[in-house]
Symmetry: C3
């Protein structure tokens, strides 16, 4: 379980760090600014989760692999930016993967720390949206999570699979894979096909 | 005391969640984005307070009514937006009420956790301004608390009543009501009559 | 050691509070808004550090001198704004000093709380950039730390001196002074002479 959590966390850190680095390069930050934004985007979701459940010091601060993975992701993006940028909408892809990793890892870890199932699912969602939210705020944009089609909802769906599986006694490895894939697929397809939820129409403004 | 704290917290969560939902509708977010911003605006003040005083996991994460109240407030606002919007300056009204609820609940809870009176009053103020601050940041605006006439000061006044009452041994129920009303009245009247504190004049810019 | 930490922390709080107050005056906030931004800029770096290492309640909340120093710095800036503003780029000067104070205090305190050397250096850097980051976000600007020439890197250098000195058994007072001066000098000279690190060039945008 500990190993699974570590791998999920590091996976989420890696892809969110890439999304942070891409945003940093687009804003023409220098190499160190790229690394700072990589670390922030890649670890703030998990750090927030750890603070909220009382896992102090947070894993990303206590253990060096989180820093290593962030620096690696930031450096790769910086050096091979042209290749990474060939993906269409590269931030979106890495962001969706980070959302999936952290939504399931957040839910798992919250269950380990004894939170009730409803809150564990919610905390999974929060973990998943935290890193991208800070990345967007730091570059002064309304966070994607509030704007994008089926974003936080995809995170909640992934986290819910993990939590429901836990209640039903299904092995964590299975629910993690299913939940993660569901979250990733939902988010990517919503983006691709423009799926969206209804929007309130303010009378004027 | 626990019941009083819970009611104050939930009251603050409800009205701040409405203010978050209104801001979300104005920015044309979808229904889930509305709920996310409702939860964020309604709970971040209390969550910050709990992290700072070491009450982990924070009440808003550990107990489901906070989530329930946030979702309820967000849904009501989404569905009956036209009615809510008939108030003039609806964000301001709900924001002022949220400030009042959280200023007194923040001060109460800080006293329960053994902080000294001065810091308990300050923490009440911080609790009161946290949710609105995040709501404004997430929609990329300079937080109201920094701009508005007698905002944080109203929160501090409300919290100070609770703390001074505590030192003098007056029952918490009374000081809570007086402090909350004072805070709400100060903020609303400052808004209505344009009361404001002096502003420094930068020589140029 | 405790006294050294307290002095470093209060020094950092004082100069960051001034930088926050200057930013607040430039945005024409009222006197209370100036004090709020002073407190936020002056204490959020240290509060974040304390939350991350599990020192709860954070020093800035538990002890009144932090509040006192912030209010003093904000009041001085408000009253004598014209004098403070005679410095060229006054925010930059106070910001660089705050970075230096908090980079070394953050590293010291992380070592006291048993973090490993690498993470202690990183945490020093994070402590140093936190207050300025929030100040910039609250006034809706891309944080200086991401934009500025050799900013976070200067913080890391200062923190690294403290950590390496600790590993080698050199007295904390010496490494603190050397680390703080190195950080301050690096940042100021980078600003003066336009030293900068390489920037990635996005193909288009």
């Amino acid at each position: 379980m500990d190993l699974l959590l570590l791998l999920l966390d590091l996976g989420g850190t890696f892809v969110f760090a890439i999304s942070g680095a891409i945003a940093a390069v687009k804003h023409r930050l220098d190499i160190f600014g790229v690394l700072v934004l990589s670390f922030a985007a890649g670890n703030v979701g998990g750090i927030t989760r750890d603070l909220l459940i009382g896992a102090v010091p947070p894993a990303a601060i206590a253990h060096w692999p989180y820093l290593g993975v962030s620096v690696l992701a930031g450096s790769i993006t910086y050096v091979w930016y042209r290749i990474v940028d060939r993906f269409s909408y590269p931030v979106m892809w890495f962001d969706a993967a980070g959302l999936a990793f952290f939504a399931v890892s957040g839910a798992e870890k919250a269950l380990v720390y004894g939170l009730n199932p409803l809150m564990a699912a919610l905390l999974g969602m929060l973990t998943g949206v935290g890193g991208g939210m800070l990345r967007d705020l730091l570059t002064i944009q309304i966070p994607n999570v509030l704007r994008a089609d089926i974003y936080a909802l995809a995170g909640l769906a992934g986290a819910a699979v993990v939590v429901i599986g836990h209640v039903l006694g299904i092995p964590a490895l299975i629910t993690t894979i299913v939940g993660g894939l569901l979250c990733f697929a939902l988010r990517v397809m919503a983006f691709r096909y423009g799926w969206h939820l209804p929007t309130a129409r303010p009378p004027d403004t």
